[in-house]
């Protein structure tokens, strides 16, 4: 497994009181009595998480859950009150202004909910903006920006102003801008929430396409559980500033850690979320199996019809065609009809 790119430990963000006033115990926890006494609410409460190289971590939570605050602490757009954030092993909080600017100019990109395009700059100039800040030569940054425009499919719109574009196009510009510096770390703060459902779906597919191309390390914020399930390698569910559960989508659906998480998972069509791997059984050597196998990464809804049509258990193979387990019909039935006895 690759090493964590982002690591945050016992992260707190409390608005309204000074960070120095928070006394921290040896485990890095802020004493809850302080929060009670001052009556302030922590926007981010004791969050510890890691994001691996090339992984998409989706932070899911409803409004006011602290997810936007969390991502701003991870990018140090706001200072955290307590706890630490490390980027590639370097402590973010202790970086000087110059180091931080350097980091943002080279390593980080961010996409915003309302696009945050500069109204006085054209599409091309918006995308080139971080490069310009870096001091890149004009010819060079124009060329790079054009590549980005091709990447997000906005050819022909280079000289338009943001106000002349549709919401989906604007967010493509936002995405292109955040990718222009070729960052390793990509923050997306509810990037598709302001878009219409159809456009949103299109942009999600676009996002998946880009990620298979680029393999960035991603923190993706959303309030949409379906979106989280669709895009995430892992999901962190936030509630009142704390992370309730952080796990793979399948595990969250199958084993919700708290009542709160369960509320989200109860209506989820599990067959669309779960992969074969999460419900298969280990192989027993003496068992007869069907001739045709299924892949361990297939979603249940894709293979259900085939599996249910078999009399025998179905072998499960990984990408190298090695048998890693078997799938019985009743496994699939349980997923399809979870409420029946």
């Amino acid at each position: 497994m690759s090493q964590p790119i982002i690591r945050c430990q016992n992260l707190y963000k409390v608005f309204g009181i000074n960070a120095a006033d928070l006394s921290v115990d040896d485990k890095g926890m802020v004493e809850p009595s302080i929060l009670e006494r001052t009556g302030v609410v922590a926007a981010v409460k004791n969050v510890t998480l890691e994001v691996m190289q090339g992984e998409i971590l989706v932070v899911m939570g409803l409004s006011g859950s602290g997810k936007s605050t969390l991502v701003r602490c991870l990018s140090r757009l706001i200072e955290s009150s307590s706890g630490s954030v490390e980027i590639e092993g370097k402590d973010l909080g202790s970086m000087s202004e110059k180091e931080l600017i350097d980091l943002r100019r080279n390593k980080m990109g961010m996409v915003f909910q309302n696009f945050a395009l500069l109204p006085h700059r054209t599409v091309l100039e918006n995308i080139a903006f971080p490069l310009e800040m870096r001091g890149m030569k004009r010819a060079e940054y124009v060329e790079r920006a054009r590549k980005m425009i091709d990447l997000v499919g906005l050819e022909g719109k280079e000289n338009n102003f943001p106000r002349e574009l549709s919401g989906g196009q604007q967010q493509r510009v936002g995405i292109a801008r955040s990718l222009a510096v070729e960052p390793d770390i990509w923050f997306l703060d509810e990037p598709f929430s302001a878009l219409d459902p159809l456009i949103r779906k299109e942009m999600q597919d676009e996002f998946i396409r880009l990620q298979t191309l680029l393999r960035k390390t991603i923190v993706f914020i959303t309030h949409d559980f379906d979106e989280a399930l669709k895009l995430a390698d892992r999901i962190a569910i936030m509630y009142h500033g704390s992370v309730e559960q952080i796990d793979k989508p399948g595990n969250i659906v199958l084993n919700p850690a708290t009542d709160y998480v369960e509320k989200f998972t109860s209506d989820v069509p599990r067959e669309k979320v779960l992969k074969v791997g999460s419900i298969m059984e280990a192989v027993t050597s003496d068992e007869d199996v069907a001739a045709k196998s299924v892949n361990v990464n297939d979603r249940i809804n894709k293979i259900a019809e085939y599996v249910l049509g078999q009399n025998l258990a179905v072998p499960v193979v990984d990408d190298m065609e090695n048998i890693v387990g078997v799938l019985h019909q009743n496994h699939v039935l349980k997923i399809l009809f979870p409420d029946s006895e």
């Binding site: 600017i101 943002r104 100019r105 006085h120 700059r121 903006f129 971080p130």
Partner: protein, 670 residues
């Protein structure tokens, strides 16, 4: 009780509060009639006028009977700053620098460039310049209007004065913009600066024009540079406010996007925040230009030459016809400057990177070419160079004849009208206000503050009036208050229904807003002119001028308030089967009321500022005293009087905006 002190009365108990308050005030006033109010609660010691002291025989020796000689104290402070602290060196230096700057523009506009061997720049060059400029920025209409205005100055022989005014503007506008923008940025960056600057800006924006003139004259003497300094001081506050507002309105996400792009603090400000605040900043620049023009006209009183000086001169010698010609010139200038700066502000940048040089810069090239051509031609065709004197015309005689005719034919009607207004309305109102014991006015103001905003508001509004009481200007302040009250009343009675009528159709709305915009660009002093034409010089004219000037916001805010009602509400009301009348009274007025109240507040602010200018045509209130202070260059008195007016305005402003803001919140409009 504690809730009352902190937040004022809750909305459902307000009405009772008003009734109780009204009864207390009434009781005190009636009580006075029966000699039940002790003298120390009734009359305040007043500032004795020097002339009355003279009559008493104490010539030369000033005796002040007011409780606190605020003006003498201010005098001492100002003279301490000027003489003891050596501020006069600074002012002398500033004067010199500004004089130099004004001279530069004056040379270019009037003196002519010796380098090109010109006596002065050809008038046709300027006309062609604004013609192309107007076309490039907006289109033919603005181009023709601008060129027509230049032509007007040439044809009516006002060229010299117009150029003087332009030179003063050219010197004061850029400086005001720079100072205002810097202060606005500082206030945005540092909360502490904002906390200091904003209240000062508020006081400065409510101080009447003339209050600025007195201290400026004391520090800088009389002349052009003083006019420019007064103008700059007057024009900076709106720029500060709008720069700050624009920066604060930049969405946090945009700033964050800038920071994530790796902007340094400098880059963030210049490349992200200021450009994003463009609209407000451009509006600020437009405001600066209009305020500067307004003040440059008034600066005539302290010797700044130009159109204003000419107008003042002609008005004082009651040459109405010539005054009207100059007045129209000033109005045209205002409309053109407003039009050009607004068009420039709204001009969206076209992307021109791929266009060849001569297309990208076609308008600047065109202007340069035409101006060069005009200069060249002026050597051979004198008409291009200088508008021939025998071609200049004047309609002054016609105007004069018109005024004479009016006086002859309308006097009877007007006199009856005047008599009715003065005897039946103005005098009783004034006497009532003067009769009221000061304590009841104080209770009224403080009580309103308490009901609307708790102890803080009460203390603030009372504090403003206590200043007036202590400074010894109570009676004069009440006279000012009565004029403002009356003018406001008339403005509401005429302006609000006019606004309602205008908001009925789209076409009317457009027209109403257009005329409000246009009238608002006129320098305030101009409003004196038609009033003098109609009513000659007396107290009624003063109030008329105030009404004409202050009615604009009442109309505008009514229209805007009615227009801002969401269409769903209209649909809902239609489905409930409302008649037009019910719609107006059940939906439109209640929902628009907070906005209309803000308009009335603006009307009151306008009235306070105009009252002082109107004093020029004869009143006996604070305004007249300010004029006196100006002519005596009595700095302490001038500033004190200015503050008295500003404080009354601020007290009203505080109460009304507080009410309106709360009401909007209650209606869920914010």
């Amino acid at each position: 009780m504690r809730a009352l002190l902190r937040h004022g009365l809750p909305p459902e108990k307000r009405f009772k509060g008003y009734v109780v308050l009204g009864m207390i005030v009434l009781a005190l006033t009636v009580g006075k009639h029966f000699n039940l109010v002790p003298g120390f609660l009734d009359e305040l010691p007043q500032h004795l006028e020097k002339s009355s002291i003279d009559k008493l025989g104490d010539a030369g020796k000033q005796t002040y009977t007011e409780l606190v000689p605020v003006d003498l104290m201010l005098d001492k402070v100002f003279y301490f700053i000027r003489d003891d602290l050596g501020f006069s060196y600074v002012t002398r230096f500033l004067s010199k620098a500004l004089k130099g700057l004004i001279n530069i523009f004056d040379n270019i506009l009037r003196g002519g460039s010796k380098g090109f061997g010109l006596d002065k720049p050809p008038w046709m060059a300027l006309m062609l310049l604004v013609l192309v400029l107007g076309y490039a920025l907006r289109g033919w209409k603005l181009a023709l209007l601008s060129a027509g205005t230049v032509l007007y100055f040439a044809v009516f022989g006002l060229w010299k004065f117009a150029m003087q005014t332009l030179a003063l503007l050219a010197a004061s506008v850029p400086i005001s913009i720079i100072i205002g923008a810097i202060l606005g940025i500082l206030a945005y960056k540092r909360k502490s600066v904002e906390k200091v600057i904003l209240p000062i800006v508020s006081v400065m924006q409510t101080l009447p024009h003339f209050a600025y003139l007195v201290p400026v004259v004391v520090f800088f003497g009389i002349g052009h540079q003083t006019g420019v300094i007064a103008t700059i001081i007057f024009a900076v506050p709106p720029m500060v406010r709008l720069t700050l507002l624009g920066l604060q309105k930049v969405p946090p996400e945009i700033t964050e996007a800038g920071r994530m792009a790796g902007c340094s603090t400098r880059q963030l400000l210049y490349r992200v925040q200021l450009p994003s605040a463009r609209n407000e900043i451009m509006l600020g620049i437009n405001q600066v230009i209009m305020q500067c023009l307004s003040m440059v006209v008034i600066a005539a009183f302290i010797g700044a030459s130009g159109l204003g000086y000419r107008l003042l001169h002609k008005l004082q010698s009651l040459k109405i016809g010539q005054s009207v010609e100059i007045g129209i010139g000033i109005v045209l200038l205002a409309v053109v400057l407003d039009g050009l700066s607004r068009a420039w502000a709204e001009k969206l940048r076209d992307y021109t990177a791929n266009q060849p040089f001569y297309i990208r810069y076609k308008y600047p090239l065109m202007i340069a070419g035409l101006v060069a051509a005009a200069i060249l031609m002026s050597k051979y065709f004198p008409i291009v160079d200088k508008f021939p004197k025998d071609l200049t015309i004047t309609y002054a005689k016609t105007w004069d004849a018109f005024v004479d005719w009016m006086v002859l034919n309308w006097t009877e009607g007007l006199t009856a009208f005047r008599y009715f207004l003065i005897v039946k309305m103005l005098t009783p109102l004034r006497d009532a206000l003067l009769f009221m014991p000061y304590i009841s006015v104080m209770i009224l103001i403080g009580g309103l503050g308490l009901i609307l905003g708790g102890l803080y508001s009460a203390a603030l509004t009372c504090g403003f009036f206590i200043f007036i009481a202590l400074a010894g200007w109570w009676d004069k302040a009440m006279i000012t208050a009565y004029m403002v009250l009356f003018a406001t009343f008339i403005c509401i009675v005429i302006g609000v229904p006019l606004g309602i009528w205008s908001a009925m159709t789209r076409e009317r709305t457009r027209k109403a807003l257009f005329w409000c915009d246009t009238f608002q660009t006129f320098p305030s002093f101009i409003y004196i002119l038609p009033v003098i034409m109609l009513f000659q010089v007396n107290d009624l004219s003063a109030i008329m001028a105030v009404i004409v000037y202050a009615i604009i916001p009442a109309v505008r805010y009514t229209v805007e308030g009615l227009k801002s009602i969401p269409p769903e509400l209209h649909e809902a009301v239609s489905m409930a089967g409302c008649s037009p009348r019910q719609r107006l009274f059940q939906l439109q007025l209640p929902v628009a009321l907070p906005h209309i109240m803000l308009g009335i507040n603006q009307t009151i602010m306008f009235a306070f500022s105009m009252v002082v200018i109107a004093a020029f045509v004869g009143t006996i209130d604070l305004g007249q005293q300010i004029f006196k202070a100006l002519s005596e260059t009595n700095i302490g008195k001038g500033v004190t009087l200015g503050l008295c007016i500003s404080f009354m305005a601020l007290a009203v402003d505080h109460l009304v905006t507080r009410w309106a803001r709360e009401r909007r919140k209650l209606l869920g409009l914010d």
